[in-house]
């Protein structure tokens, strides 16, 4: 890891070097090394948007969010790489939306061609469109549907699931439960409205019914006030009064300003799913199946905090790069892209089955965890849903629905 912007003043980089030295000593007796040594250089760019505090203290953003995942992914790649004569070096940069493109171009100027980007749609597309012809970008944050459809880019692979994949993961579970009458509460910001669209489409796809909708308007104000729960307990049930009969309240709150208030503060005794209650995530620090405990404990030893979605998605992007480098023996982005999109690519991601990429829009297929914050309640796709290719393609945009042509 190379320190940039002072973010790496912590011990993560030092630990990486210490472990590498240990492994190097252990494997020094390796009889042969491949003649060609590769140096794999990856840049991780995280765009930090102005935002208020999260509703829950548990979600306070860590300084090294996503970057700690990059460290772990680089470390994992380095162990295999050591036998293969490949070295992995990753630089991490945190920037603002205004400076994002300039930072990207600076790194491209420094010779970086592999990028993991944590940004919203606009900044991400700007970088993809400004990228040198031989660069490859991984989206580890944005779930925007258009990026997987009409605004897809051939040089952009999506490790982050789309909003539609997350919504489908929730809806499949609710349909499996036969809780098919849903009351949708959505926020008023554009991202919330887009998420609500994803839930509507998902309900149509799997035969659930949105029996009613309500908008929870974002009127601003601080997110935390002393004894704020007193008002929440009085106001929320009133807001949720006079609804058609429903099994579940679906919350579409991409901007995190109201959904967490809903559980137990509804008028009817309905459970909440979506942005609160039963939440679709790519990773949970409580997840334990398929070796997940090991990934969680390795991450916690490294970062001294739990692993979250952005850490996991960054770790996973680095692992895609590492795996493609291992199997192709190349660090050329075009070769890595071809391998990642090819039939031979499989990657273990602690989700119980290999993750692969959709060839038509560069979206990674992956199971989605449904968590209540304390436990993994279920993992979608659910038993009983069918797909002619792989059950994972029952989540998100399928080939016939995608308007993406850049991958043809």
């Amino acid at each position: 890891m190379v320190a940039e912007n002072g973010f790496w003043s912590n011990l993560a980089g030092l630990r990486l070097r210490a472990r590498a030295a240990l492994l190097g000593a252990a494997f020094a007796s390796l009889a042969t090394l491949p003649a060609m040594a590769q140096e794999v250089r990856t840049a991780v760019i995280r765009v930090d948007y102005p935002s208020l505090l999260p509703l829950s203290r548990l979600d306070l953003p860590a300084e090294d969010r996503a970057f700690a995942g990059a460290t772990l992914g680089t470390e994992d790649n380095a162990t295999t790489g050591r036998f293969m004569g490949q070295t992995h070096e990753t630089v991490t940069v945190a920037t603002t939306p205004e400076n994002a493109l300039a930072e990207f171009e600076r790194l491209a100027g420094d010779g970086y061609r592999l990028f993991v980007i944590l940004a919203r749609e606009a900044e991400l597309l700007a970088m993809a469109d400004a990228a040198p012809g031989d660069a490859l970008l991984f989206n580890s944050r944005s779930g925007a549907g258009s990026l997987r459809s009409e605004d897809c880019r051939a040089n952009l692979l999506h490790v982050a699931p789309s909003d539609a994949m997350r919504a489908d993961a929730v809806t499949q579970f609710l349909v499996w439960k036969k809780w098919t009458d849903l009351f949708l509460v959505h926020g008023s910001n554009p991202e919330d409205v887009a998420l609500a669209d994803a839930y509507r489409a998902s309900a149509r796809k799997f035969g659930a019914r949105i029996v009613g909708e309500r908008e929870f308007t974002d009127t601003g104000g601080s997110r935390v006030s002393d004894s704020g729960h007193v008002l929440v307990q009085r106001q929320l049930p009133v807001f949720m009064q006079n609804t058609p009969r429903h099994d579940v309240v679906l919350a579409a709150d991409a901007t995190d300003y109201f959904a967490e208030y809903l559980p137990y503060n509804t008028w009817e005794a309905a459970p909440v799913a979506g942005s609160a209650g039963l939440v679709p995530v790519t990773w949970a620090p409580t997840h334990e199946s398929w070796g997940a405990t090991q990934l969680n404990t390795r991450f916690e030893k490294l970062a001294n905090r739990p692993m979250r979605d952005e850490d996991y998605q960054t770790w996973l992007a680095l692992r895609v790069i590492g795996e493609a480098v291992t199997r192709t023996g190349s660090a050329d982005p075009a070769e890595l892209r071809a391998y990642a999109l090819g039939d031979a690519f499989t990657l273990a991601a602690f989700k119980g089955e290999p993750v692969t990429f959709r060839k038509w829009n560069g979206q990674m297929r992956q199971p989605i965890l449904l968590t209540n914050g304390r436990m993994t309640v279920s993992v979608s796709p659910q038993d009983g849903f069918l797909h002619q290719r792989t059950l994972l393609d029952s989540l998100g945009l399928d080939q016939p629905e995608s308007a993406c042509t850049a991958f043809e």
């Binding site: 240990l22 162990t79 295999t80 293969m84 499989t346 273990a348 089955e353 792989t390 994972l392």
Partner: protein, 325 residues
């Protein structure tokens, strides 16, 4: 009248049958925190005893004197009397022991520490740690060559089989296999090594007669109507004559039967749900499979290559070993 005829028939059958020796079959139950004991002639459950927290890997001394269980969440190996089921003592194992292999002589024990990127070598007599060997990330599968010179460890995230010199404890060779290698198994003549890759969906066949043993073949699996991603090879067992290889295929609920000469899959046997580990009876007449999601074991008749029975055991059976004769 009818009853006496039946009795007579039963007596005749008892005489005709080869005098099968009953062996205790030990099944570790990961969730139940117990070991279930079956009788290998009647296939009845004869006991279930506490085995510590999260028992997974299980093996027995070659002379049948001690039963070893990886109590993963206790960070140690528990040693039991295989006849009385009493706990005798514990062995230090390093953190999170998952699978292990005994030296053919019965000592020492080589343990994979899944959470700590190490293999720990423990003397089962003095109960001392002899060595800690750094390996790749998430070590799991362990095997030792029949000549006891080479210890194999597979690391699940590094995707390698590490060859460890059994005397110097140095890594001498590494073979890149497919995603998430879970188990390694030698043929009894030591010429071949099989390494299963759970997420890669393959079993690599490694030629041990070559100087730097290479992969000579990758066995793949295909079952009509089963999504390929559910064909997840885990446990592997080879018959002593090398003619048959059995591979447990996880959530596809199948065990593959492979011709040991050609390394071609011959057939698939339907067993219980999420089959992970396998164990032969000493005469190799039967193979027992642990089915974690249906809480049972399936008994395979090895010669007929058929499942003859399934027996309920404890919660989430993980590993299995059968007492020697």
């Amino acid at each position: 009248m009818i009853r006496s005829t039946l009795l007579a028939t039963a007596a005749a059958l008892a005489i005709a049958a080869t005098p099968a020796l009953a062996n205790n079959v030990f099944v570790s139950n990961e969730r139940g925190n117990t070991v279930t004991v079956l009788d290998s002639t009647t296939w009845e459950v004869i006991a279930e005893f506490p085995a510590g927290n999260r028992p997974r890997g299980i093996t027995i001394a070659p002379d049948g004197s001690e039963l070893y269980v990886c109590a993963s969440d206790d960070n140690l190996v528990r040693v039991f009397d295989p006849n009385t089921f009493e706990e005798l003592h514990t062995l230090p194992s390093g953190p999170d022991p998952e699978l292990f292999v005994l030296h053919p002589s019965g000592n020492p024990l080589y343990i994979a520490n899944e959470d700590d990127n190490m293999v720990t070598v423990v003397d089962v007599k003095t109960r001392q740690v002899l060595a800690e060997i750094p390996v790749g990330i998430e070590p799991e599968g362990m095997a030792i060559s029949p000549d006891a010179r080479t210890v194999i460890n597979t690391s699940e995230t590094t995707n390698m089989a590490h060859f460890i010199d059994a005397e110097s404890y140095e890594i001498t060779h590494n073979v890149l296999v497919d995603q998430r290698p879970r188990y390694a198994e030698f043929t009894s003549d030591g010429t071949k090594l099989y390494v299963s890759a759970e997420i890669g969906g393959t079993v690599s066949v490694i030629d041990m007669t070559a100087n730097e043993p290479p992969i000579t073949r990758k066995i793949t699996f295909e079952v009509p109507g089963i999504q390929p991603e559910w064909l997840q090879p885990v446990g592997v067992k080879v018959t002593a004559d090398g003619s048959r290889v059995f591979v447990a295929l996880g959530p596809s609920n199948r065990v593959a039967v492979i011709d040991g000469e050609t390394d071609e899959v011959i057939k698939y046997l339907l067993v219980g749900q999420r089959v992970w580990q396998l164990g032969f009876t000493p005469d190799e007449k039967f193979l027992i499979t642990t089915n974690g999601n249906s809480n049972d074991v399936s008994i395979i008749d090895v010669e007929r290559e058929e499942v003859i029975k399934s027996v309920q055991v404890g919660q989430q059976p993980w590993g299995v070993v059968v007492a020697p004769d």
